[in-house]
Amino acid sequence: MGTQEIVTKCQTIYEDLNFTYAREWKAAKAGRKVIGFMPVYVPMELIHAANALPLGIMGGGDQMEVIHGDAYYQSYICRIPRSTIELGVTGRLDFVDMMLFPFVCDVIRNLSGIWKMMFPNVVSRFFDTPQNFEEKIGGTYYIHELQELKEAIEETTGTKITDEALRNSIKLYNENRKLIWGLYDARAKEPWKFPTWELYVIMRAGIMMPVEEHNQLLKDYAAAAHQEDRPKRDNSRIALNGSFCEQPPLNLIKSIEMAGCYIVEDDYVLVNRFLTEDVPVDGDPLANLALTYIKHSVETACKYVPKEEDKGKFLVNRIKQCAAEGVIFAAPSFCDPALLDRPMLSHRVTENSIPSISFKYAENSGQMQPIREQAGTFADSIKLWN
């Protein structure tokens, strides 16, 4: 398959608000279950090990008209919960057997309760990851939480999760993360060959299909993109930060790229690379998952940073690794995590003499002209000063 074919396939999957791909997967074999999850992080390995499909639900995007959802949320709350409710009330998620609402912010946290009340037949769980990163404290707590989640998944799916099955899933997701980080590295090296909008649709489709299939697709795309002859432009290299939950419309990513920016780092679809190192395969799989989260996971606004000197370090390091020349802080409107974090991150990048700009968006933002202008001016100013 060429890049075009792969990207078209992925775009079709991710834009399909009826989740046909996941529905077909479920219908293909009796007894199959689908477990939906919201941003930012859940251990997909546990779901996979129960032979269920982890399905990333990241709102309704810009193609969905929100009719009912607005009746549930005041105007000063971001858009993702209302469009997710819309997906629910319009029956688009009626094939989802369980929903997980991870620790992100109070909006997603409260949505877990709304889901319990609105869809009493769906198993809904708030999934609390520890904010204490001491192995004996947060680690021990998290192992128990994972054990509880495991039992809940077993009950929903009717499948016992054996250590062997979990180890196998861990291997597959280790491979998935390796392939994804590989693609991110390749993009940082030759961004003209790996446009971010293409990577983005591949990542979005990846959390809507079995991991085995995504792994193959990532390999195929990497091979095809390496071979393709795409012209190198005189673009500025930027890192994008703040878009870890409500996702921007695809047009926004394209607009930034068209404005003369190569996006060489981003925090879209963070679930697929939340863990920055392999989860050990040998030993107790739950403890391995827990401790990898504790010791080796990304820094993001919805995780506490215990030491002041470490705040923003992850972003600054990634900027350096990816040779980014500037940062675009792009946060959803009314997004507490991203917007409260922004001043601190912005101080860190400024201290490191990295220029930055910021703007807000919503998943259904339609007007791209101002963003194109802002990103274009930023790209030009980087070129001028470097």
């Binding site: 309760g113 769980r125 001491e134 509880e148 506490y304 917007l339 001043p343």
Partner: protein, 429 residues
């Protein structure tokens, strides 16, 4: 008789005012006295533990409320926004940060000294985490976090409690020992927790007096004063115990004499509507807001806001026999750490137990912890109780989001709606 009444009425308020000023004086003179100071939050406030190490407890939320009531927060918020803080985020945070930028002056006119430690008690609100990361950046002082898991399934588990106790034992207590130079004394903690429980018994008695008709208290506007000592720096002290004794006497007097609550304009005479309120109040226009209720004869008989610093009316008491476990359970049980179905049950129970006419939601722009989901909660409570609900939108300390005319209109139509509903019920009967 009426002169007597005034004296009795005012006594608890005078006592509380003096307690607050003494605390502010202790805080602002800490550099001279050498006393150490912790800053922390109202929900998950570990006041007994802080005091156990001889430290002062400073609560930025309370400081923001104080500044809000003195109409200073508008300027502070603008200051923070000028400094790069988004217009979309919690205004308590911006009021605090803006205040820092403007000299950080306490209500007694003296500057707040820097805290010696930030106790990030993460209970029921995501913003707390960012707020103290932001303050840590400013103060560069030791910061200790205590992560309180959310009751996603409507109850807490032993794993959650053990996790909190471990954080207390292995992180909070050693940090406090290091900062204060005082060794942890569990018996001292027990003594204070025994005092906490006494005051909590009295607070519950106070808030439950709203079941009387007429209600002798306002359980929202009045209750923000009644919960003051327990929610802030006085839980676990004899001062708090004494305060509630006086308060109880005053309220008993009002019950005996079938009197209503005391508003800023005197006793509320006529009680036409009994309301349950969900959500925090607005502070910048607090009196104006309250007036819109008592002018219409509306008394608040129960509120969720008076449970943010502890849900004592649901049975919780600090337990001197198990001090650390009890502190953990306290944190787990705060109102905003409970899931939405539980919050709906609580509000439904209030409507029934307090024989209220309906639920009013004051939805706060700043506060996702309270506000995200309130429309659904209101509809659910309406459905379950058959009592009408109403929804108004304001903010805590940002005067730009208090539109007096809109709020007043909304309230007036709501009270009319209750009236119509009553007439409907009567004529149907």
């Amino acid at each position: 008789m009426s002169a007597d009444k005034n004296v009795i009425k005012e006594e608890s308020m005078i006592i509380q005012k003096a307690m607050i000023s003494r605390n502010y004086d202790a805080i602002t003179s800490k550099l001279e006295t050498g006393q150490k100071m912790a800053s922390t939050f109202v929900p998950g406030n570990l006041n007994e533990l802080v005091r156990c190490f001889g430290m002062l407890n400073n609560l930025p939320e309370i400081n923001a409320i104080q500044a809000g009531m003195r109409k200073l927060t508008g300027g502070y918020i603008m200051e923070a926004e000028k400094g790069g803080h988004s217009e979309d985020v919690c205004t308590y945070v911006k009021a605090d940060i803006g205040q820092l930028g403007k000299g950080n002056i306490a209500p007694n006119g003296k500057p707040y000294p820097d805290p010696d430690v930030l106790l990030l008690s993460y209970t029921g609100c995501y913003t707390f985490m960012k707020w103290f990361e932001l303050l840590r950046e400013q103060y560069k002082c030791p910061t200790v976090m205590i992560h309180v898991p959310y009751q996603g399934d409507g109850h807490w588990t032993m794993n959650m409690r053990d996790y909190i106790v471990k954080q207390l034992k292995e992180e909070v207590i050693p940090t406090f020992e290091r900062i204060s130079g005082v060794k942890f004394d569990i018996d001292r903690l027990r003594e204070m927790m025994a005092l906490s429980a006494k005051a909590e018994d009295d607070l519950v008695w106070v808030i439950e007096t709203a079941k009387h008709k007429p209600s002798p208290i306002d359980a929202y506007f009045g209750a923000v004063y009644y919960v003051g000592p327990i929610f802030s720096a006085f839980r676990g002290t004899q001062e708090a115990v004494d305060y509630y004794k006086v308060l109880k006497k005053e309220i008993q007097y009002r019950i005996d004499n079938k009197m209503g609550p005391i508003t800023p304009e005197g006793e509320m005479k006529e009680q036409k509507y009994r309301i349950v309120v969900e959500g925090p109040p607005n502070w910048t226009n607090f009196r104006e807001f309250w007036k819109m209720f008592y002018d219409e004869g509306a008394v608040v008989v129960a509120s969720s806001y008076s449970k943010v610093g502890g849900t004592y009316d649901m049975g919780f008491r600090h337990d001197p026999a198990n001090p650390l476990e009890s502190l953990a359970e306290y944190c787990l049980g705060c109102y905003t750490n409970r899931n939405l179905p539980t919050r709906v049950e609580i509000l439904e129970k209030y409507i029934n137990d307090y024989e209220a006419d309906g639920l009013l939601t004051n939805s706060i722009k700043s506060c996702n912890s309270f506000s995200a989901g309130q429309l659904m909660m209101m509809r659910e409570v309406e459905k379950r109780t058959g009592k009408p609900g109403a929804f108004i939108e304001t903010d805590l300390v940002d005067p730009r989001y208090f539109s007096a005319a809109n709020v007043k209109n909304r309230l007036e139509s709501y009270f009319q709606m209750i009236e119509q509903k009553r007439r409907g019920v009567k004529s149907a009967a």
